[in-house]
Symmetry: C2
Subunit: 115 residues, 2 copies
DNA sequence: CCTTCAGTTAAGTGACTACTTAAGTATTGG
DNA sequence: CCAATACTTAAGTAGTCACTTAACTGAAGG
């Protein structure tokens, strides 16, 4: 939950090519060429995107022979999700309190009208 | 769930100042100065961050008199959370399948050993 | 009124992004 | 062996980013 880690994670996810790569890796490990296949850019560009994902800790990879196999690393993705969930919960809690307050006000008004 | 919308959302969240602003707004509406208070930068810079958040649809604001009041808009935040949840679910499903497969293999090995 | 307040706008700067092409380096199938 | 494969590295470029300072607008408060 460190600021810099979230910076890198959200930055990594802010690119459609990188999200496509992450999406592919949720289905299972893949080589660099497999990750590149659906993307309309040079292999070189894909490698650079991969570097961003690895530096963010979203992906880990190992090279065997001439093939580099990549897989997702769940922790950072989970941390980003957690951050979003926490904000949403806080925000919903606030809406609930507001709703309860308005209901109470409404009740008071009706009471007043009854007199 | 359009790509460009997620681009903007994740990009907006990739900055610590903007995340601080969003965090503040989950607690309730705030003026620009209130958002700026905890940030070590000029008001002008804060206004520029606010513009990024508004263009991403994460925040909406209205000016009354000389005060601009900002509040969060939940939808886009929710969409980002959804994207992360979907990837995680996919990834966990894959791990489960893998686990089941390994368990089955393990069972087969034990059977073989029994003979 | 007129000054302070709350924000707005413009212009500039240095760093970073997302690519490209081009020229590598190991592997490996035939 | 040697050509194809699977990346890897380097260098360059146009565009974007996160600020800054400075000058400005329009609403209040005294």
């Amino acid at each position: 939950m460190q600021a810099e880690t979230l910076d890198r994670t959200f930055h990594a996810l802010a690119d459609p090519a990188r999200r496509t790569m992450v999406g592919r890796l949720t289905l299972g490990p893949a080589s660099v060429s497999e990750l590149a296949a659906p993307l309309a850019m040079s292999l070189s560009a894909v490698v650079q995107h991969l570097a961003v994902l690895e530096e963010a800790g979203l992906v880990r990879s190992e090279k065997i022979g001439r093939v580099r196999t990549c897989r997702i690393e769940g922790a950072r993705l989970r941390a980003a999700e957690d951050w979003l969930v926490r904000r949403r919960v806080e925000w919903e809690r606030r809406l609930d309190r507001l709703g309860a307050f308005l209901d109470a006000e409404d009740g008071r008004q009706k009471k007043r009208r009854k007199r």
